[in-house]
């Protein structure tokens, strides 16, 4: 058998003349077929995995190989162990169905793990029912693209993340469909990376979670129905554009939670029906512009510890409360936003309201202190209270205002 394969390789090498291209090897289901084939393969070879079930684990890829599944061959860990383990540079894994890793508190069991390797290309795989879907450790210049990563996590303790990256840089996470993990995408110490077009939903904790990850760009992703939305902490130079944050409901659920973020840019995102769309704590120099905040409980919650941030040209429509804060100081700027609750006038017809808009309502301050009072919201009584406060502000911070409120909504 092996002799045959060797022969085949030789023939192929002669046929293609170019020796670096490697051979193409078909692998069919058998006991330890994958392990044997991988061991036997040479650098630059291509392995075509034939359809069938491969009950193998700890499948080590330690040389530059291209592993391609033909019609979704299944690699099943039988809920015991971890599966594909990539330690060499420039490995491609494509078209596999990787499923049923074990769960362990000692090691992070992953469907596909890339460790200390560059230029890995993990593309178009189905990663099902794994603790960790795709796990990147000390990796760089890797592409994770078009994978379907689904699990059914029920609590935070016994679950892992869909795409997990630790100490990486220059990753490209593109168009993956992630659901049912602890965190959909988890980054820790990951820099200069692009996350684009992913869908991350129904994760127990966060759709996207990153810490200490600087200069990353997130665009056109969709985060919905996650336990607590998206959490972004201790990072600089974050760019988030064109993402959709939908339906992240619950106490302590935020479409985005920003904690100690600096010099970042949040632009043209859509926030729909989240309990809190944007929560900011101890963050500085953030530009929030051209976003749409629609039907959220609280559009923006910004603590007094934030400064030098600008909120401009956003649309605020149908939110229960537009802005809340926890202090009376406001070191951030709101301008040229459209607020649907604004009832000022525009006598000079320049499209900008002639009186400022105060986005913090009295009742939002009251419910902040006494959440139960929310049950009386929108009653005749609370309407009167809000109106009186508007005329004579006493509790709400008068520095927090939009001096150039737009009369018409922005076309975003």
């Amino acid at each position: 058998m092996i002799g045959n394969i060797r022969g085949l390789i030789l023939i192929l090498m002669f046929l293609f003349v170019q020796p670096t291209l490697g051979a193409t090897i078909k692998v069919s289901p058998a006991i330890n077929a994958l392990a044997k084939a991988l061991k036997a393969a040479n650098k630059n070879d291509t392995l075509l995995i034939q359809p069938g079930i491969y009950k193998e684990h700890d499948i080590l890829i330690d040389k530059k190989l291209t592993v391609i599944g033909v019609q979704w061959p299944v690699i099943d860990g039988e809920n015991k162990s971890q599966l594909i383990f990539i330690t060499a540079d420039s490995v491609t894994v494509q078209g596999l169905q990787v499923q049923n890793t074990g769960r362990s508190s000692m090691t992070d069991m992953a469907g596909i793990r890339v460790q200390n390797a560059y230029y890995a290309n993990v593309q178009g795989n189905k990663v099902l029912n794994t603790t960790y879907g795709i796990y990147l450790q000390n990796a760089a210049y890797c592409t994770i693209k078009g994978n379907l990563i689904h699990a059914n996590a029920v609590d935070e303790l016994n679950s892992g993340n869909g795409v997990h990256a630790w100490k990486c840089h220059d990753l490209f996470i593109d168009n993956n469909d992630i659901a049912g993990h602890r965190d959909g995408i988890y980054f820790e110490f990951v820099t200069e990376s692009h996350i684009r077009g992913n869908k991350s939903k129904r994760n127990v904790r966060y759709g996207l979670h990153f810490m200490f990850s600087h200069n990353d760009t997130y665009s056109k992703n969709e985060f919905s129905d996650n336990g607590s939305g998206v959490a972004v902490m201790y990072s600089k130079g974050v760019v988030m554009t064109d993402n959709i944050f939908r339906h992240n409901w619950g106490d302590a659920a935020y479409a985005i939670l920003l904690k100690e973020i600096a010099n970042s840019h949040i632009e043209h995102n859509l926030f729909v029906k989240n309990t809190v769309a944007l929560y900011m704590e101890s963050s500085t120099n953030i530009l929030v512009e051209k976003n749409r905040f629609i039907d959220n409980g609280w559009a923006i919650r910004v603590t007094a510890s934030c400064d030098k941030s600008t909120f401009q040209q956003n649309n605020f429509i149908g939110n229960s409360f537009d802005v809340t804060t926890n202090g009376t100081v406001m070191l951030n700027v709101f301008r040229q936003n459209y607020w649907d609750k604004y009832d000022g006038y525009d006598l000079d017809k320049n499209g900008i309201g002639d009186v400022p808009y105060y986005p913090v309502s009295l009742y939002s301050v009251i419910t902040e202190r006494i959440p139960t009072a929310m049950i009386l919201y929108r009653s005749f009584l609370t309407n009167i209270m809000d109106q009186v406060e508007k005329v004579m502000p006493s509790v709400t911070p008068d520095q927090l205002k939009d001096t150039e409120p737009r009369m018409k909504k922005w076309n975003l």
């Binding site: 302590a252 409980g297 006494i370 139960t372 009072a373 009386l376 009584l381």
Partner: protein
């Protein structure tokens, strides 16, 4: 029963106040919904109008109507007809015509301008409030002999439910905010039909915010359909309990 209802409706559909009420609601609805290109905002304004005006107008109109038709009631009762039949027929006539006025004034514009679940809930809320305050008006009518006194009580009841009750509840929440009072608050809420109607709408418009509360009961109550079902069931109680009490009182009432 059918005959009396038919003739009461015949009278009420030509009643100027009912026509004006319907017309004012329609003008308000169209202007509030049409002025803004933001349907949620229009819906909210309409909700405020409904919660404020529907109870007071309904209770006042119904109370005055019941007192004014005492002589007619006597005439009907001198015929071989049961007392219950006469009373309930008049209730159905008044409640139906006011509910129709609301349905035409608010429901139709909503249907054409902002159709959706929230609009439907608003119409249901308005109609339920109409039925509730007609019931309360009937109870006032059978409990008091004097018309002036009855109208006074009706105004007091409307004010109590639309303003005073919430004030007291807010004071209660303020003073006991350190204790787990969620359950008590929901229970208290059941005693005010206007609040129940408002909660029905709150569950439509502010679910996102309501989900931000950690209280398990609140979440259970507000997060699922059970909150809406609870509110509707309580409002139906508010329709039928005063109605049954009225029937019982009316049996022994001297006209």
């Amino acid at each position: 029963m059918k005959t009396i209802v038919k003739y009461v409706l015949l009278d009420l559909f030509r009643n100027r106040i009912i026509l004006v009420y319907s017309l004012i609601l329609a003008v308000l609805s169209i202007s509030l919904l049409g002025l803004d290109n933001n349907p949620t905002k229009g819906l909210l304004s309409l909700l405020n109008v409904s919660l404020l005006f529907v109870p007071i107008i309904t209770i006042l109109f119904a109370t005055i109507y019941f007192f004014n038709s005492v002589e007619f009631t006597e005439l009907l009762l001198s015929q071989p007809i049961k007392r219950n039949t006469v009373l309930l027929s008049q209730y159905i006539g008044v409640a139906f015509s006011l509910a129709t006025a609301f349905g035409i004034g608010v429901g139709l514009p909503l249907l054409f301008l902002v159709s959706g679940t929230a609009s439907l809930v608003l119409v249901i809320t308005g109609i339920l409030l109409t039925l509730v305050f007609c019931s309360i008006a009937l109870l006032i009518f059978v409990s008091f002999k004097d018309k002036t006194k009855g109208i006074g009580i009706a105004i007091a009841a409307a004010l109590f439910f639309s303003l005073l009750f919430d004030g007291l509840l807010l004071a209660f929440i303020y003073s006991f905010s350190d204790y787990p009072i969620d359950q008590a608050v929901i229970a208290i809420l059941a005693f005010n039909p206007i609040d129940l109607g408002r909660v029905l709408m709150l569950l439509q418009l502010d679910t996102s915010a309501l989900m931000g509360y950690s209280g398990a009961l609140f979440k259970k109550f507000l997060g699922s359909a059970s909150g809406s079902i609870f509110s509707i069931v309580c409002m139906l109680f508010w329709v039928f309990v005063p109605l049954l009490l009225s029937v019982r009182t009316f049996k022994k009432k001297d006209l």
